[in-house]
């Protein structure tokens, strides 16, 4: 490779290295194009359509493309719809905290306290196995568990702790929260375990030799090093919980209406413009949450 050509890039003759680089880049773009076109056509375009249709005119049975903000005004002045936004945010926050609180000690045990690789893998696999059952089946499995004649009430009555079956367990917000926490917890345990597993044990041993208590070690070493895992897990859980509707539809007895449920019911009654408005609101919420999370963690670096 002559240094002469590389130092004068404006000359038309390119060095072999540059030619190769250019060829490589063209090849990369060629390989990438089908995927990007697919995403543009079948993801970006539909999302743009949702925004566009949210400004269409809704008549009783159909929509037409006359632009109006009527659907938005109706949505933002309706207590039901605003309530759905509030419910969505509340459930999201509770489930997010619950998955961290429930999942973190498990991740701590698997990632840090189990140093036997085989046992570690076995425990992680045990956490992932329920994921292999259909999502809807896992949701519905909570019904015989929490119902008034369900397993939990039966056990509690047999033990004599209660005499009347607890009715708040099923078809309430409680059952939705329990169901979502169980289903999405794994997505929190995984990333945290991964980060904890990468901690060099000698660092912890050094801290212990220098007289640090476990509390100090946890606060100063373990927690900061595991935070990227918590963030990645939070992104997973947030995205899934915010877009949820099936768990609420199955376990709340129609008492809990998330934005997702609003979309489904509006589409069911052919109110496309209202569904689109709810869709845009949901998109805004999710974008805000992801943007916030991505400011705190670089996803590409962690993968």
């Amino acid at each position: 490779m002559s240094t002469l050509t590389t130092e004068t890039p404006d000359t038309p003759a390119l060095s072999p290295a540059q030619l190769r680089e250019r060829k490589d880049r063209r090849r990369a773009l060629g390989l990438l194009t089908p995927g990007l076109v697919w995403m543009a056509l079948f993801m970006v375009l539909p999302m743009a359509m949702v925004i566009y249709v949210s400004f269409w005119t809704q008549t009783t049975f159909s929509v037409n493309s006359t632009l109006t903000t009527a659907s938005w005004e109706r949505f933002l002045s309706s207590a039901t719809y605003l309530g759905a936004i509030w419910t969505t945010l509340r459930i999201w926050a509770i489930v997010l905290v619950a998955t961290i609180v429930v999942g973190y000690p498990v991740a701590l045990f698997i990632g840090l306290f189990v140093r036997n690789k085989t046992l570690q893998t076995a425990l992680l696999v045990a956490c992932v196995i329920p994921f292999w059952t259909s999502f809807l089946i896992r949701v519905i499995a909570w019904r015989p568990m929490l119902g008034t004649e369900g397993a939990i009430n039966m056990i509690l009555m047999k033990l004599g702790i209660i005499h009347e079956p607890l009715t708040f367990l099923l078809f309430s917000e409680f059952s939705v929260l329990v169901g979502m926490t169980q289903i999405y917890c794994v997505f929190m345990v995984g990333p945290i375990t991964f980060m904890l597993g990468r901690i060099d044990v000698s660092v912890i041993e050094a801290a212990r030799d220098l007289g640090a208590s476990f509390g100090t070690i946890f606060r100063r070493i373990i927690l900061p090093l595991s935070l990227p895992g918590v963030m990645v897990g939070s992104i997973f859980v947030s995205v899934m919980v915010l877009g949820e509707f099936a768990t609420a539809a199955s376990l709340s007895g129609r008492k809990t209406n998330l934005l997702g449920n609003i979309i489904v019911s509006q589409v069911g009654s052919l109110k496309w413009a209202f569904a689109a408005v709810a869709g845009v609101v949901l998109t805004i919420i999710i974008t805000a949450v992801i943007a916030l999370a991505l400011r705190l963690v670089d996803l590409r670096k962690e993968m």
Partner: protein
Amino acid sequence: MESRILRPTLALYTVAFLLFLYGPMIVLAILSFQSIDGGPQFPIRDWSIYWYQHLLGMAETSRVSQLPVGDSLIRSIILAFMTTVVSTVLGVMSAEAFRTKFKGSGPAFYLIILGMMVPGVLVGLGMALLSNTLGIARAWWGTSFVLHVVYTYPFAFLVMLAIFNRFDRTVEEASLSLGVSPAQTFRRVTFPIIFPGVLSAMLFSFTLSYDEFARTLFTAGRDLTLPLAIYGTFSVEIYPNIFAFGVLTTLFSFTLLVIYGLLMKRFTAKAARFTGQEDA
């Protein structure tokens, strides 16, 4: 040392956590053996396999209508298969592209990853609106299929990216500079190295698509896929036949997992044999 208390406490907690994860499925499995006159709750009147027979259409006429699993199962498997092929091919191509540095790789990366982030109910709604406007009929093999790929392709891409990151490029270059054709190099050198990744990407794509429901709900048109058939039972009273179905579909998933494990094992054994030959 505090870990003497902490370790057993955490171990016990992990056991409780696993019970929390498995509890509902265990209860569901037990109740699937409910007798004909029993409901979807305790107590078990009598142990029987009636609801399995009912599910498979082998029971006599009954008050409970049969789950429409036959046709929808076949549709779901075909759909998952189509999705697997396309998203794995796209995933391998894109990950291969990301091995060279190019301008705009950051936005391209996030555009692909967005596919697994966007809620299914949103893209589903968008696709339904789009097909309404363009006058395209919605069908599971069309509008649903493209959305399934939007969802599974990022997973396949990430798996392949992880494989390519650990891939030593000089091996390929050695093969090429020894005069082996690019096609032969791909077949004899590149493919064997990336094969475990391809298999994982396929497994991911298949199971995600097979179970995908939110993206299918608005876009499947008249013919139902399996998750839609299950969702249809949500609004009505449930019977133990859906529990029996849950048990069977879980067994099906495990069969897939075992096949994957066997393929993987066979492949690594073969790879080990090749290294053995080199040593000899």
